[in-house]
């Protein structure tokens, strides 16, 4: 009887903490696995593990960070080898790439007057539809993609991301920096492929 009540209590607490995070986790899982079926499996497995190890969760600490750590580790051990990841990027080639600068060049080329500044460039940036951004994200190698997602989507601090990924804060910083560069280069390549912009350097 006692057992039963404790069990019920555990379930209720787990439900309160983690069920509201389901959409959030599913979105991240989608971006990790890049396909809905794997994302579903991944989320389900993460919830099962979280429940199994719920006694290790320290009450009062960040529940979202805790279950995301489980999700990330599950992804890394189980799914990373299943799907072909994008090739490692030659980072030196894009270290100095700056999407904002490229866009400014385009604006200047099409409009002889002085570039009008942030609004113009930001407007060009917003012309990308969500699908472009999602596709560009898929082209970012996993280790960089995860760092960017945990920062941009989850809003975690570098310290929190370091703990989730089990790397140093310095590594997080460099992965976020590189991940964003790769993402922007990819967006730029999309724009060029579709002839939305011409390569301003030519």
């Amino acid at each position: 009887m006692q057992e039963n009540r404790r069990d019920q209590e555990k379930k209720r607490e787990f439900e309160e903490l983690f069920v509201p995070l389901l959409d959030n986790l599913y979105n991240i899982a989608l971006r990790m696995t890049r396909n809905p079926r794997d994302a579903e499996d991944l989320v389900q497995e993460a919830y099962l593990k979280a429940y199994r190890f719920f006694h290790r969760f320290e009450r009062g600490t960040n529940a979202r960070a805790w279950i995301l750590t489980i999700l990330t580790n599950t992804f890394r051990t189980r799914y990373r080898k299943k799907k072909q990841e994008p090739d490692m990027v030659d980072f030196q080639a894009i270290e100095n790439f700056c999407l904002a600068d490229e866009m400014v060049k385009v604006i200047k080329a099409s409009d002889k007057s002085e570039a009008k500044g942030a609004e113009e460039v930001v407007k060009l940036l917003k012309d990308y539809v969500s699908d472009d951004i999602l596709n560009a994200l898929e082209a970012v190698p996993e280790q960089f993609r995860l760092a960017v997602l945990l920062s941009d989507v989850e809003g975690f601090s570098y310290q929190e991301i370091a703990e989730i990924l089990n790397v140093s804060v310095g590594t997080v910083k460099s992965r976020i920096f590189r991940g964003r560069k790769i993402l922007q280069k990819q967006l730029w390549d999309f724009a060029k492929e579709r002839g939305i912009v011409r390569d301003a350097k030519k």
Partner: protein, 73 residues
């Protein structure tokens, strides 16, 4: 603060990783420097766009049900 110093901290700035003194210094620089201001604005927008497009999906009902069933919630 020079442009170089500001841009070096761009990502930490938009990720709110800097102490308040450094944040203030950058804000002051951005008030004065249109080029840097544009670049910071751009990166901030990029971050917001990534956020926005990664919260659109809803977990399928079947997944909700599967989890509830396996955990017997």
């Amino acid at each position: 603060m020079t442009c170089r110093e500001a841009v070096d901290k761009l990502h930490e700035y938009i990720d709110s990783e800097l102490d308040s003194a450094t944040t203030e210094k950058i804000k002051k620089h951005l008030d004065l420097c249109r080029l840097c201001c544009n670049q910071f604005e751009f990166e901030k927008t990029m971050k917001e766009l990534v956020h926005k497009c990664c919260e659109r999906a809803k977990a399928p009902d079947v997944l909700k049900k599967k989890i509830a069933d396996t955990l017997n919630l």
